[in-house]
Symmetry: C2
Subunit: 349 residues, 2 copies
């Protein structure tokens, strides 16, 4: 497992996107967003995705220089057509809109259609949080999840992401399935034959612990019917609201010949509409401290908030580099070779 530093990795990814026709500034921004996810330890949503983006661009399933368009603006809401641009470019445009609407209305709600994979949702919520606002990001995804009691993929992993401004480490970014699809792909790639109970269902909708049955089967909604309900909620706010593709109309980054056609929902909310400046941040921090001070359950050393493990990983990886899975590194190497690009240096282990 080679270890690469963030800047070198970002540069390579940016250059690869340029080789597929993406202009330099959009390529650089997209690469930065991907590497940010690796820095936080969320490798499933980092540069491992680049090979799919490159394939999409090469096969004409995604526009290298599409321009997101503001279709409609009313009150604190906006509807955006992504015109099949890179998801990161659409999401940047959309979060900028959400933040701007919040200045006038206290809240901004932005829906996008015809977008693409935007990497980790956390990146966009952090962008909203950095503007001093509470942030929410939702998106629909390829239909690999059956509605509860069903056995055909109709819903995506449909993540929910939420974060707050200020110093609280709390940042929730979760698929509405027990695990993200990538976890099963990774176990499969690694050749492990079994997975933990509760991760997946087989083709008949029956719980399975066999990796191969999970790979050809379905992801288990979080906690059963409640996770399924959350996934439907996300779709009602994404594909249904945007006027874009819904449920099994979506494509997927691993399948060629069809755009992904994903929809996203962004919300920014100004806590200064409710409390004095700085008060929300202070209260959010207090809540975090109260939760952290909870006596640990038997078997645990401490209470960890959502977002804390990622913060710690980021501190470490900024200093010590990003360890990349062999498969991811190989794929980047292959693409770099093809376009005669220099590879970033690998840290001595």
């Amino acid at each position: 497992m080679p270890t690469i530093d963030a800047a070198g990795l970002q540069h390579l990814c940016s250059r690869l996107l340029e080789c597929l026709g993406v202009n330099a500034s959009e390529a650089s921004f997209t690469a930065t967003a991907l590497v940010a996810s690796n820095l936080r330890g969320v490798d499933s949503h980092g540069v491992a995705l680049l090979r799919y983006y490159l394939e999409q661009l090469e096969h004409g399933d995604m526009e290298p220089n599409g321009e997101p368009e503001l279709l409609h603006n009313s009150g604190c809401t906006a509807l955006i057509d992504g015109h099949n641009s890179l998801g990161q470019i659409v999401a940047r445009f959309a979060t900028d809109q959400a933040i701007s609407l919040t200045m006038d209305h206290g809240c901004g709600i932005v829906s996008t259609r015809r977008s693409n994979h935007f990497g980790a949702a956390a990146f966009w919520v952090q962008r909203i949080n950095a503007a001093g606002l509470i942030g929410i990001a939702l998106c629909n995804a390829s239909p690999v999840v059956a509605p509860w009691q069903g056995k055909q993929g109709r819903l995506g992993t449909n993540p929910i992401c939420f974060g707050v401004p200020g110093q609280s480490p709390f940042l929730l970014d979760m698929a509405t399935t027990t695990v993200a699809a990538n976890k099963i792909f990774n176990v499969h790639s690694a050749g492990q034959s079994t997975i933990p109970q509760g991760w997946a269902l087989d083709k008949e909708g029956v719980p399975t612990t066999q990796t191969i049955d999970a790979y050809t089967g379905l992801l288990n909604p979080l906690g059963g019917y409640k996770g399924s309900g959350l996934a439907v909620m996300v779709e009602m706010l994404c594909g249904v609201l945007s006027g874009g593709a819904m449920a099994n109309e979506l494509g997927g980054i691993r399948f060629r010949g069809k755009p992904v056609d994903v929809s996203q929902f962004f919300m920014a909310l100004d806590p200064k509409c409710f409390l004095d400046p700085g008060e929300y941040e202070q209260r959010a921090q207090s809540l975090s401290q109260v939760l952290k001070a909870t006596a640990p359950a038997t078997g645990y050393d401490e209470v960890l908030l959502a977002g804390e493990p990622e913060l710690r990983t980021e501190a470490h990886r900024r200093k010590h580099g990003i360890p990349l899975a062999d498969g991811t590194w190989q794929s980047l190497t292959d693409w770099a070779t093809r376009f005669h690009l220099a590879l970033p240096g690998v840290w001595a282990s």
Copy 2:
């Protein structure tokens, strides 16, 4: 288990609230909201709650005729002080505000502090949906849930409720725990010694299937760390945002000498800001149909959406009456006896 019709039950509950000093119109509205939950089959959030409301009123822990106050309005947001009024009265005021703000801004976000138990969240989302708007309701609750990896109650069951306008039956109303606290109280009241795995943790934060350990222990967050994260998200939008009580500062409807001091978050969103009139409703209905048409998994007859079982129960109970748990009926009988009120007729079984 006696069966009572909705109108008779509503009348008794309304009169009982009046006996504790609530004025007639607020009492009638509150009773209607509670009975609506019984009609939907959600008995844990129906008239079974009335005894606690009456006790709160009798002990001075809740104001019989408090008046919710609009503290602050900015853009599409509003902050309300419930002044310890009945939760239903605060929530009615808040949802009216949210709907009204939506007319001007496309969205309305309302936060309440110093509120009380508002019954089932679904009632408020249905109220928003009836105005042609997408609705969300969240609230914090008594600290009976430990943050994941902890063993002390710091979070509530913190429900998430979401619904859409139009004919789709989809209506999600879920605690962010595997089950609602009332389920464990009910199993305990019924004298059952065990509960299913995944419902609860004992005092040490270790999973248990013993009812007594669960009763003195903690509710299990939905799916573990993700449910815990969702509960924190809800608290960040309720107690933290409202400036009200947070986490273990809250009281509880079963404990005297302290107001419940709950906070709620309501959001209304106008789909006509994004799509043509009627289009969102039609698309939501289409999604529901696609999901319903999913082939059932082995062991199931059909795919059920969140909200469908409740719709079916409501159709049945409107015709055939509401079966009340013996304990609930006994409690209503005791209170009615005390205030010399006539009981509604019980249906012949």
